[in-house]
């Protein structure tokens, strides 16, 4: 799937186009469609303007091809649908997932792979380009997988109820911790009281 860079406006024109229209739709409609598609590529962090322009045009041309047959759909709807299709098909190819009956969350996996393979940083020129792709890129895409933790080793901590029996404890007074120490201090306190009593 090569993406030729068409430089003349003539390549956009359709035979039946009236003035002020492209593929049977007003120019403003395609402008809006362009904006939406460009926004999505922006969201994917395709920063290179040349690449961005190529990708948007590629998607819009596919939408324009559909436009005459689907007059009730807006240009933006068609363009965004094509965008979704182009991106998902490309993910299927790169990730080697059959396009038919693909994982319904293929798009999610593909986007995650783009991020982990650092498409925005290293591989912008490979995005939506037909294969073959550099091995490093393909490996990075295919091996990308997110984990919130290592493999589980499930176990179950179980609380042991507290025995809060102060009365029970008090009945075993002699076994209270530091009881001897407390007794010494109590004797000391009694001594102080005695001194106080004797001197007053």
């Amino acid at each position: 799937m090569d993406i030729p860079l068409e430089s003349t406006i003539g390549s956009w024109a359709f035979p039946r186009d009236e003035p002020g229209k492209l593929a049977g739709r007003p120019l403003e409609e395609w402008n809006a469609a362009y904006g939406k598609v460009e926004s999505y590529f922006n969201a994917l962090c395709v920063r290179n303007k040349v690449l961005l322009g190529q990708l948007v045009i590629h998607v819009l041309k596919r939408a324009m091809a559909r436009a005459p047959a689907e007059p009730h759909r807006s240009a933006t709807e068609l363009a965004v649908e094509e965008l979704d299709r182009v991106v998902t098909d490309w993910f299927a190819q790169v990730l080697q997932v059959p396009a038919e009956g693909a994982d319904p969350l293929l798009s999610t996996r593909g986007r995650l792979a783009l991020l982990l393979a650092d498409m925005p940083g290293k591989w912008q020129d490979q995005f939506l380009r037909p294969g073959p792709w550099p091995d490093q890129f393909v490996n990075a895409m295919r091996q990308a997988y997110l984990r919130s933790g290592p493999d589980f080793q499930l176990s179950q901590m179980s609380p042991r109820e507290f025995d809060l029996g102060p009365i029970t404890t008090l009945t075993k007074f002699s076994r209270l911790p530091y009881v001897k120490m407390v007794m010494v201090w109590a004797t000391f306190a009694l001594l102080l009281i005695l001194i106080f009593y004797l001197t007053h």
Partner: protein, 723 residues
């Protein structure tokens, strides 16, 4: 598809680990006896003197109450004083009985160990949390032992914006550090049992993979070398279940924050050395910056609910003390590694934030009054728990002491009797009643201020420490000003703590949200709202004393001044410019301010860079939700994490219980598209965010549907991606 994982920490405990039999810690009864006897003897002597003073003007029931309150309060002060005194002596003479000197651990290998570093968070400042984690990670990487540690961000966040920001920052961090498979992020479905439940959840899923785990607070940073040392210490001391470091307070910028930071760094070494003298292997756990042996913790430290109603019943809020007590009960040792540097935390930056933190801790500590009676606990554990309780109960007792004193003076005035003092100890001491009162007062002052003086004296003998605090002159001025500020702050603490205790006892609940740690400055309006009752009490109380007992009024001025001046004081000390000005004047300098350790410098630099980034959160309400739906990468990360969650049977059951996967959620999502997040309740937003399929569907729909058919909120959100 095989996961991409860097080599992770070894997964199975070694046989040496499995074979550990806890050894009963050596008896430290004599140390405990001598230490507390010193405090008791001092309290006894001064109480006798005070009782004698009371006797001289005629005994009464209210005087008995006053004496009892005095004894309790003085005993607490005396214990603090003794800790400072013992600490001072040990630091001068050298303390050999500490965990770092008990075994030769330096050459110990940590090969074969696996340690998890846990960052339990709940609606915290995400940039700060990840900044701290990053600084710790980089510091650990420099030790060459990084591969023996795994990092876990254990989120309990309930605010969608925080949740999504955490995921975004996490993926940014792992990509930046190349730490996929080394730094993990997991969010619980519900924050049942708060922090202790969060840790338990981790242990139930991954605990068996790790021989040790280190708990961090949201504002913790630890030096890599310190972490490696902790693991070595655990390896060298197989009977030790937990080692608590003493985190130094750092990164304060407001005047209040810097005063607290100085007090922490300047006085804590003395107190903690004294504490270690009597605690030894029966120390305590403060909830973070501590390494824990996983197996005994899992076996003994799952906390049950306490019977009865609030404030004592229900979930144990301050779990750390109790967990240490349970480890000790099972004959595992718990130590303070108080001489290990490179362990840091941050503290509240103003008086109000400080009080809010105390409010959260108060109820938890009061619960310990019940836990103290749990059978089988060690006596020292009961002491730790008791001190935790008294940390808050002392305030109402002090207030009661002051009021009882006023009552005695007032009732005397209205009795019409004249002041006739009788002879008591005066034949032996030869003191007038006024001199007698002054002696008691001065002893109290000495007991309160002695540790501060000793910390200064220590500086004279320790050149390196002296330099670290900016020299003796700067440190002395700082101590004097800190003492003056404490005198003004203490009455406010007394009123706040009293209200917290009363509220807790009446069953008022505590909201356990994120803590406000950043210095933002307290406005006059906020200060007035929070302190008006302090001012009112100060004015009314002062007016009454002025009216019925003018000489006593002057004795009460330090207490009253703090209350009356609370509003300007609160505003002033929260000011970061005053904090910087004090620093320029060499006041409240700490070692980390004079020579910033690399891990803190890294964190500070990171925070500056991140604060300059344009904020995403403030621009749009529910920005996190918008980002999770619209941003292709954030959405992919979010959905992937949700999908992985289903692999855990406990979480899968939890998701099912929440209703995830039901058609109703699709209907809620449809409402979100058509009417925006304002049409959803907070629970509905969380529900949508928890459903992987719905989130993937929303991403597609939000981009596919014509913008004009979406709620205006989406149109604003989509504009972020328009060039």
């Amino acid at each position: 598809m095989q996961p991409v994982l860097t080599e992770s920490a070894p997964r199975k405990p070694t046989p040496a680990h499995v074979g550990i039999v806890p050894v009963r810690p050596p008896k430290r009864g004599l140390r405990v006896f001598f230490f507390f006897s010193s405090a008791v003897v001092l309290t006894g002597a001064v109480s006798l003197l005070f009782a004698d003073l009371l006797w001289r003007t005629g005994w009464s029931a209210s005087r008995t109450v006053l004496l009892v309150l005095f004894v309790i309060l003085f005993l607490l002060a005396a214990i603090g004083c003794m800790q400072g005194l013992y600490g001072f002596v040990l630091r001068i003479l050298g303390d050999r009985h500490r965990i770092t000197l008990m075994t030769d651990y330096h050459e110990r290998s940590i090969a074969g160990t696996s340690t998890a570093l846990l960052f339990p968070i709940c609606n915290e400042d995400v940039v700060r949390v990840f900044g701290g984690l990053r600084a710790t990670y980089l510091s650990l990487a420099q030790t060459g032992e990084l591969h023996r540690f795994d990092f876990f961000i254990l989120s309990d966040s309930t605010e969608p914006n925080k949740w999504i920001e955490e995921e975004r920052r996490w993926i940014e961090l792992v990509r930046e550090l190349g730490a996929l498979g080394r730094v993990y992020y997991r969010r619980r479905l519900t924050n049942e049992d708060r922090k202790s439940g969060n840790i338990r959840d981790f242990l139930n899923v991954w605990g068996k993979r790790y021989r040790y785990f280190v708990v961090f607070d949201a504002d913790s940073v630890m030096r890599g070398e310190t972490l490696v040392t902790l693991v070595k210490l655990m390896e060298a001391n197989p009977a030790v279940g937990l080692i608590q470091t003493v985190p130094g307070v750092v990164n304060a910028s407001s005047l209040f924050g810097r005063i607290q930071q100085f007090a922490n760094r300047f006085y804590t070494p003395l107190f903690i050395t004294g504490l270690n003298f009597w605690a030894q292997g029966f120390a305590n756990y403060w909830g973070h910056n501590a390494i824990i042996r996983t197996e005994p913790f899992m076996q003994h430290c799952d906390l049950p609910r306490l019977p009865g109603r609030k404030p004592f019943g229900g979930q144990i809020l301050s779990h750390d003390f109790v967990e240490a007590a349970l480890l000790l009960r099972a004959n595992w040792q718990v130590w303070f590694a108080y001489d290990l540097e490179g362990s840091y935390e941050e503290a509240p930056q103003d008086m109000i934030a400080n009080a809010q933190r105390d409010r959260r801790w108060c109820q938890g500590n009061l619960q310990h009054a019940l836990v103290m009676f749990v059978r089988g606990l060690r006596g020292i554990s009961r002491l730790h728990l008791l001190f935790g309780v008294m940390g808050y109960l002392a305030s109402p007792l002090w207030l009661a002491f002051l009021l009882t004193f006023n009552w005695i003076r007032l009732s005397h005035k209205f009795s019409g009797l004249s002041d006739i003092t009788v002879r008591a100890f005066t034949p032996y001491l030869n003191l007038t009643a006024t001199q007698h009162a002054f002696v008691v007062f001065m002893i109290c002052m000495v007991v309160l201020l002695l540790p501060k003086c000793l910390a200064l004296v220590e500086l004279v003998f320790d050149t390196a420490r002296r330099r670290a605090f900016g020299g003796l002159r700067c440190a002395t001025a700082s101590v004097l000003l800190e003492t003056a500020f404490s005198a003004l702050h203490a009455p406010l603490q007394m009123l706040w703590h009293t209200s917290f205790v009363v509220t807790s006892l009446l069953g008022g609940s505590v909201r356990w949200g994120g803590q406000r740690r950043l210095a933002g400055g307290v406005t006059w309006r906020t200060a007035l709202r929070r302190h008006w009752w302090h001012m009112l009490i100060g004015l009314v109380w002062g007016g009454l004393i002025w009216w019925f007992d003018r000489p006593v009024f002057w004795w009460f001025t330090p207490v009253l001044a703090g209350m009356v001046l609370s509003v300007p004081l609160s505003v002033a000390v929260s000011n970061t410019r005053l904090g910087a000005h004090a620093r320029a004047l060499c006041l409240f300098l700490t070692p980390e301010e004079i020579s910033t350790p690399p891990e803190l410098a890294e964190l500070q630099m990171r925070m500056v860079v991140k604060q300059k980034e344009p904020g995403r959160e403030e621009s749009l309400p529910d920005a996190g939700l918008a980002e999770a739906v619209l941003d292709p990468y954030v959405n992919a990360v979010h959905v992937s994490l949700l999908r992985e969650k289903r692999l855990n049977p406990v979480y899968a059951a939890g998701l099912e219980k929440l209703g995830v996967g039901k058609p109703e959620i699709r209907a809620i999502a449809e409402r979100l598209l058509m009417r925006g997040p304002g049409a959803l309740s907070p629970q509905e937003k969380i529900l949508v965010l928890n459903d992987a399929d719905v989130m993937a569907w929303l991403h597609r729909q939000a981009w596919l549907r014509p913008t004009e058919t979406l709620a205006s909120w989406w149109q604003v959100a989509l504009q972020r991606y328009t060039r």
